[in-house]
Symmetry: C2
Subunit: 467 residues, 2 copies
Amino acid sequence: MEQWKEALQKHIQEERILTSLADRYSYSFDASFGEHLPEVVVQPSNRDEVVGILKVANEYKVPVYPRGQGTCLSGGPLPVHGGIVLDMSQWPESIDLRVDDLTVTVSPSVLTARINEEAMKHGLMYAPDPSSAHVATIGGNLAENSGGPRGLKYGVTKDFVLGLEVVTPEGEVIRTGGQTIKNVTGFDLTKLLVGSEGTLGVITEATLKLVPKPPAVQTLMVTFDNVHTAGKAISKTLTSGVLPSKLEFMDQACIQAVENFNPIGLPTHAAAIVIVELDGHPEALKVEKEIVQEIMESIGATDVVVPGNQEEADQIWHARKQVSPAIAKIKPTKVSEDATVPRSKIPDMMARLEDIKQKYNVEVVCFGHAGDGNLHPNILCDKRDQEEMKRAEQAVEELFQAAIDLGGTLSGEHGIGTMKAPFMESELGATGVGMMRRIKDAWDPNGIMNPGKIFAEKGQKLVLRDE
Amino acid sequence: MEQWKEALQKHIQEERILTSLADRYSYSFDASFGEHLPEVVVQPSNRDEVVGILKVANEYKVPVYPRGQGTCLSGGPLPVHGGIVLDMSQWPESIDLRVDDLTVTVSPSVLTARINEEAMKHGLMYAPDPSSAHVATIGGNLAENSGGPRGLKYGVTKDFVLGLEVVTPEGEVIRTGGQTIKNVTGFDLTKLLVGSEGTLGVITEATLKLVPKPPAVQTLMVTFDNVHTAGKAISKTLTSGVLPSKLEFMDQACIQAVENFNPIGLPTHAAAIVIVELDGHPEALKVEKEIVQEIMESIGATDVVVPGNQEEADQIWHARKQVSPAIAKIKPTKVSEDATVPRSKIPDMMARLEDIKQKYNVEVVCFGHAGDGNLHPNILCDKRDQEEMKRAEQAVEELFQAAIDLGGTLSGEHGIGTMKAPFMESELGATGVGMMRRIKDAWDPNGIMNPGKIFAEKGQKLVLRDE
């Protein structure tokens, strides 16, 4: 047995070191593309075990790949250079609410939806709501800085993190931030670490901010016979003085896919629907609902549905949540993107998507967090058709370029991972990437933390085809 | 003439290189403590000049001290090692609003209040409102990550920065973030740079987020005969489901100082007042006002004043703004602190302040952003009385320790600068500070950017006395 594997046994019980092919195989993929077998999977359950494992990995220069539930869409946890997968999902759940401070301290394994569930019991809310909240861990959300529909009003994961406990790549423990709402004591390592995709250390605990639960919510579903009109309606709403908690978009292909999958009576003839959620005091909502309705009608909406009760509203939001599984039924392979543009450029981005669709003869459906300029164009294809996948790769590349051309960014909420690493320089320039690289090298001199992510390796290209 | 001074002349017009003693003297202090003469003051007006200056400084290893309007309370712009003061305040004002994107791109010299003024013309708001907003530059706010009363609901400067243009210590230009609301493309350099106090580069442009201007605001002024009750009232309000836009505290000494300075009829007999601002839709405000009023009365407020019109409300907020100049009249020297604690610990922190006051026989007055746990205890003393200043130093040290003991932090919004650098390790530990230092060294290998700030020099202590 290699020395480093023996050394690991000093730090973690044998039954939590997995080495069989079957076990390793189940850690070889995530929700994106590519399969990579790790040499070992370890399942730490406390900070000291992580310290021990990282010290061994650093000493023997073995790559370490932290992983939550593996729901990542950009390849974050893929063990592209073998080594150790650090399965953080078996850590005991710990949710320590401090109601008077409006904070909660959690272990990395907690499923994100659980945090909000506990907060709600005390009239509080953990606002970030990635679509994967019921199956993904907060540790993964922290690594990727996950977004979600409520990002529009409340912000993304990073905006809710007050403090972290982190094991550095060399196995030292640091605490960043703390329990306070405001903190300007030195560099903001908290916000550097959140979204650094596990390349700078392992988060072993996080203190999160909570906000009062809004006393009421109001949903509206608006139908358009033209995608461009929908884009204009979104823009007009955002500058009206009303800030919706959610503002989601679905194109016709998504609407039809959801209706085929699980019919609830969505308008399948519509070019697009926009789903709005307002939250706040019930009296304020009555007024804001009218304002939004007027805007939508004045701009040319063909229909505005105001659900009569919570059940009807839930059904609309359930339909939105069904988009991802529903479109996965159209074709076997789904390339889910999250390139993001300035809010005013949504109609331009939609036009560019239409061009790309024609040019490469690929099926593109589009939905997402339109209020943030964060659309999710999905290319639907078939992994077994190598020629189609080649066209899909070209379409994705051009889609990234379109976002950058429009003043946007490669990724709004999925992260860079392996998928977008080759395109970093086209957005940030060599110097921009170089300044990030300096931080990585200073913190992780042996390059053991999640190597192969964010920073492209020589000659690395986007590959959706099986290699 | 030294070589580096000659080299500077190639990059910036001679009349914008100030070398006379009188000129240099006016750049030797800020709003904190200590006087340090720079060798040269330069006043760049565009990015390329900054590039040139930093290349020269880096080549000749000359320290560079960026400065806005010098309103810093922690020593941020003090040229503690001489060298070059980079006076950014002469840069032409540029405010480029993109209403449809809800963003604004500004030059570093813009006064913060000007941004909000322009935004308001379009029904938008730039929410961060440091008390110095009318005299401080956005560049200084970015360097220090300034807060302000509205931080409670909206967040601080950092929460409103989408993208930066930065000249690195080696004179390279990078762009971080961009025009989009969401961005997870690589490490978050934007949030690392904001609040890094000019130690990692010079910000030459910033893109900021705007939000819709709230349609209405409602002020309440609440009187207490007991500081502890005021603390409890704050906590109860924050967990009531209502999120005020501001929640400010003034103790009796502040109330009396303001009344002596500029009487408006504040209750000088009261132990404390809490000023609340709610914002949102007028209908919602009617309800929320009642909720807050009920909480305050149920917990033992002696009076709740609801201003009848905007003028009366403005007068209350004007009184709050007058605290700082008013208490400066009590004694010649004012040591303004911003140690911050978890929200629930405000009453404990007040008790600790009372102990410190007794123990060191110093005059302490207290006001601030109670809703954030971010109080401003001010020690009032006389710089000419060396013995009193010695006691003030000890009181400040113990005050920092009290905040840390209560799970808080050295600085909520003023920054570390020279003033708090000696205490960094007591909060973060040597490893925590060391990980920050690694970033500093990787970005600025010659240590030219604002040396002497954040990171304590060997043997450095808090000194409020003249040396």
